[in-house]
Symmetry: none
Subunit: 216 residues, 4 copies
């Protein structure tokens, strides 16, 4: 019946990655069970061991897999309209993309959560995540901030302003259950994400003004 066994294996593999991504994002690495992942993927309990060796290597592969998907869905600004935009627009793009990645609710709802979870509760995978996913974003944000305040990218002020921007975005993900209780009106649909990106960009652009270095 199976016309293409190789494609079949790839499909099982991908279903495991998707299921694992969802479960890891929901409950974290240690609390996730291989049984749950295999069940969601419609696979046998031994499938993880067969395809990935063990739980930890599956976790690493999930990150690799997640990266490709996220980049494909929401390319960062540098990869699209690029450097010709004014830095204010670039900042908005950056913030909006970050929020989208974090609140993507479609088939790939777990990408952002997974990354934030790894940031808070690091495992051996953190080095990979930092190198491959976070540092590129950080570099890009630093460049935008540096352009806005006129500091070198390595200056502490640049870093702190960058963290202030990212912190505002991450907060809505980290503290979503709390936000939902304190401020139930807040939604996270497409329209709300635009408004949120607007707010954060506006707040941040103004917030950086006192740090601006006098230019000639």
């Amino acid at each position: 019946m199976k016309l293409n066994p190789q494609a079949d294996q790839a499909e099982t593999r991908q279903q495991l990655l998707e299921a694992a991504g969802a479960v890891f994002a929901e409950v974290g690495f240690r609390n996730a069970t291989v049984r749950e992942i295999c069940q969601r993927a419609g696979a046998n309990i031994a499938a993880v061991n067969y395809h990935f060796g063990d739980k930890e290597r599956l976790y690493m592969e999930v990150f690799r897999y997640s990266q490709e998907k996220a980049h494909a869905r929401y390319p960062l600004v540098s990869e699209t309209t690029a450097a010709t935009l004014p830095p204010e627009k670039k900042l908005y793009f950056f913030v909006h993309t970050l929020l989208q990645r974090i609140f993507d609710e479609g088939e790939a709802a777990w990408h952002g959560k997974l990354m934030l979870r790894e940031m808070m509760e690091p495992t051996a995978a953190l080095d990979f995540v930092v190198t491959e996913k976070i540092r590129p974003m950080s570099v890009q944000l630093s460049a935008i901030v540096a352009e806005l305040i006129g500091c070198p990218v390595t200056d502490a002020r640049t870093w702190h302003c960058g963290f202030s921007v990212v912190g505002q975005c991450a907060f809505y993900c980290h503290s979503r259950p709390v936000v939902a209780r304190l401020f139930p009106e807040q939604t996270f649909d497409t329209e709300a994400l635009h408004q949120l990106a607007d707010h954060i960009t506006k707040f941040s652009l103004a917030g950086m003004k006192p740090f601006r270095v006098a230019k000639k």
Copy 2:
């Protein structure tokens, strides 16, 4: 033999709460083991079940216990020098207090971490935490922001600005391992916390400016 069995029991109870707070803050509710908690408390393995019924009820009690201690250590601004200060100073106090709670490294280092952990990975205890700990802080911050931008405390802009402030603070806790990798110079000692509070206050005060409602 025991001269004062009642005091003894109360002492064991408190040591269990302290140990549990530390362990829960370090590894989260599910990853924490009663064995570890009892061991640190110098108590019997059955002590948790004896004193609190089960692990979950211990967890709830830890929050109740934590609240008292935190308030005693770092009273928020309203409870001290209060309303006579200019809102800029109040904001600085708020931010600095929040950072101190988050990065307190002393004997009771776990209060802030525990709360942030609960915010990210909510359990049944979240309702208690929101009601008893977070909402009061939120009310206080909203009042400060409202005073600064001239909006009612219930206005969405007030909330969003409040979240922008808190987000900047929480980021350093949530993402501490990542910050350490990207920006190793960043420390979190007393001096650094002052500088961080300075930065966040400066950034936030400037950031709120565009949201200020014209008053006459």
Copy 3:
């Protein structure tokens, strides 16, 4: 009901040791299952972990436990009638004791088998076994052989003659199923062990003669 809980624990511990000794002797370390051991000891599956930490440490404890019992039951010659005997008698005692340990069929049938199994398929426990059990026996045998052939105990001839003696004894244990098939008349009851010890002693005493060093 339990009048003496401490004695109870010790009893459970000992039953686990006895059961483990039997199972390890029968099927080896890796093939033995904790389930089987606990079942035979009338204990829960988690009992091994509780009392010994894990399977490997249980295995080590079994050797320690076995040593005490074996020494108590069959003290070697040096520990009894000692050095006044002629070396021929000492050799007989040594051989007979070794055979008894190997073929002990009573409550402690597994002591010898366990040791021989460890000798053939060594684990981390082998160092302990060699140091604590085998080397003392080896020293004793070397002394007897050296006395008989007039070589120093460190001479290669002494060693080889010693191995020839031990090899004859060990063979009946190692190859018991084969011996039973080739020579069904052979039994291993008290009487047979005496005859076997007689044969091996006689064979060995004569076998060593060509290695005797001329003395004045």
Copy 4:
């Protein structure tokens, strides 16, 4: 594509037998894994079940296969220079051949080890091994011993002396790890095997003297 599928199949089969022999000899039947065997044979994971039905039948086939090879490599004395030699020489040949089989380190190092392992830890294959491999050797050794001591081959004394000879040889294999610890100087290269065979033959010839039956 395959020019000669039948030869191909036979080759895979033989490679499986070789790999299985090596693995079984190294770690025993139960500790051996079909994965390892197939991997070493360069075959598919399902090859064992395809060619032999299951792991156990493969094990049996390994013995059948091993017998042919061993006989080809080290024909016993009766099959070569045969009966014209004096029994002392025959004994030396027997001992030396046995040691060679046990310590053969070449491409087929596993024949002897496999047999000794089966002797110690018998499986269903033992009957085959005894009938096809061990009994012929036993018969041959009994004949030599009988010739030396003048007893009938069925006499218990003949058996016991035979066991004494074989026991000395088997000891070095069974207890090799222990010997290595107690007597590190002992090697098992070609030269050492000659010396070992010399020692055992000398020891055994002298050892049998007291059992010699007077003839006239």
